[in-house]
């Protein structure tokens, strides 16, 4: 329920402010609308349980990238540039293409994903009281290896939350195992879980990203630096 409400509020905010980004004539107003879009996306991330990503979204996009945009707009004093508003054929064409693209993307979003890949937590119904299946055990050990969790830790902290009397995964029933899997997956947005797989499974991409940032840093300095240092701005 809470997720639906959050989705509706932030969804409408996101789309509305995104339209404002392309509709406002003044770049500063557009930039502000974009900040609002980023905010509503952060809200959507929270409703999806991705807390870490939501925080990083605000820090990186709203706190750094958009301030940079504002800085450049103010530096070049673009807010004062008068842009003429003309509706030509190209623009009409662009809007038509856009609407077609949206229709296509929405169609794919609805149709191409038929829900077969739904996680075991929401999978087919099992008989009440049936024992835990091997599939579920596999899934749990998969989660364990991804997040470097310990079976004893799961047994001591997560299993009692699902079923109070039990203390080992193997004794759970199938429906309780589903709850356990859902609970373990719900933890994945937490920063420590993200950090664990970022520094194990994705270590190489992470290191490569730092090279990308370094390249950007050097590139910017080369681009903006003027030849004569006296008039450096």
């Amino acid at each position: 329920m809470a997720e639906q409400i959050l989705f509706i509020i932030f969804g409408i905010l996101a789309v509305g402010s995104a339209i404002c980004v392309i509709a406002f004539r003044n770049p500063i107003h557009s930039a502000l609308a974009l900040v609002l879009t980023f905010f509503s996306l952060a809200g959507l991330f929270i409703s999806l349980g991705a807390y870490f990503v939501a925080a990083v979204q605000v820090i990186v996009y709203a706190g750094a990238i958009m301030v940079l945009f504002l800085f450049v707009i103010m530096l070049l004093n673009l807010g004062r540039l008068q842009t003429t508003r003309q509706i030509n054929k190209a623009k009409v064409f662009a809007v038509i293409v856009g609407i077609l693209l949206a229709a296509e993307a929405i169609y794919i979003g609805i149709k191409a994903y038929d829900g077969t890949a739904v996680s075991p937590a929401q999978g087919e119904s099992q008989a009440v009281g049936a024992a835990i299946t091997s599939e579920q055990l596999n899934r749990i050990s998969e989660i364990e290896s991804t997040y470097h969790l310990d079976r004893t830790e799961i047994n001591s902290t997560y299993v009692p939350e699902v079923s109070e009397q039990k203390s080992t995964v193997e004794t759970l029933t199938a429906s309780e195992a589903n709850l356990l899997i859902a609970k373990l997956q719900g933890e994945m947005g937490k920063p420590d879980r993200i950090g664990t797989i970022l520094f194990t499974k994705f270590l190489l991409p992470f290191e490569v990203t730092s090279l990308v940032l370094l390249a950007a840093l050097i590139g910017v300095i080369v681009l903006v630096k003027r030849e004569d240092t006296d008039t450096a701005a």
């Binding site: 997720e3 639906q4 989705f7 969804g11 996101a14 789309v15 995104a18 339209i19 980004v21 392309i22 770049p27 557009s30 930039a31 974009l34 996306l41 959507l44 991330f45 999806l48 349980g49 991705a50 870490f52 990503v53 979204q57 990186v60 996009y61 750094a64 990238i65 945009f69 450049v72 707009i73 070049l76 673009l78 540039l81 623009k91 809007v95 293409v97 856009g98 609407i99 693209l101 993307a105 929405i106 794919i108 979003g109 994903y113 996680s119 997956q185 994945m188 947005g189 993200i194 797989i197 970022l198 499974k201 994705f202 940032l213 950007a216 840093l217 590139g219 910017v220 681009l223 903006v224």
Partner: protein, 99 residues
């Protein structure tokens, strides 16, 4: 909340970004629209990642953000240096390679 709704929202945001790139002539606004498109993709990543019970979706968002930050820095630097040469950032007037 079903995945479809998130995908539709993501598609809408992406399309708004595309339309913005097509109809606006101001290089900075076009740049903002590209950011918007990246964010639409991020939303799809997180939503699908949640559906599959896999945090890799969130890791990808993390990488997209890093690359976006680098891209913004470079892009704005290009815009600033173009503005210094031409006194405009209207992309209709910046259509020659010669400075």
């Amino acid at each position: 909340m079903a995945l479809q709704y998130y995908l539709i929202l993501s598609a809408l945001l992406f399309t708004i970004g595309v339309i913005g790139v097509l109809i606006r002539r101001n290089a900075i606004i076009i740049f903002m629209c590209i950011e918007l498109m990246l964010n639409a993709a991020n939303l799809a990543f997180v939503a699908i990642g949640r559906e599959l019970g896999d945090a890799s979706g969130q890791i990808f968002v993390f990488f997209v953000m890093t690359v976006a930050a680098a891209e913004v820095a470079i892009g704005l630097a290009i815009i600033v240096s173009v503005f210094r040469h031409r006194e405009t950032i209207n992309i209709d007037e910046i259509n020659t390679m010669k400075g």
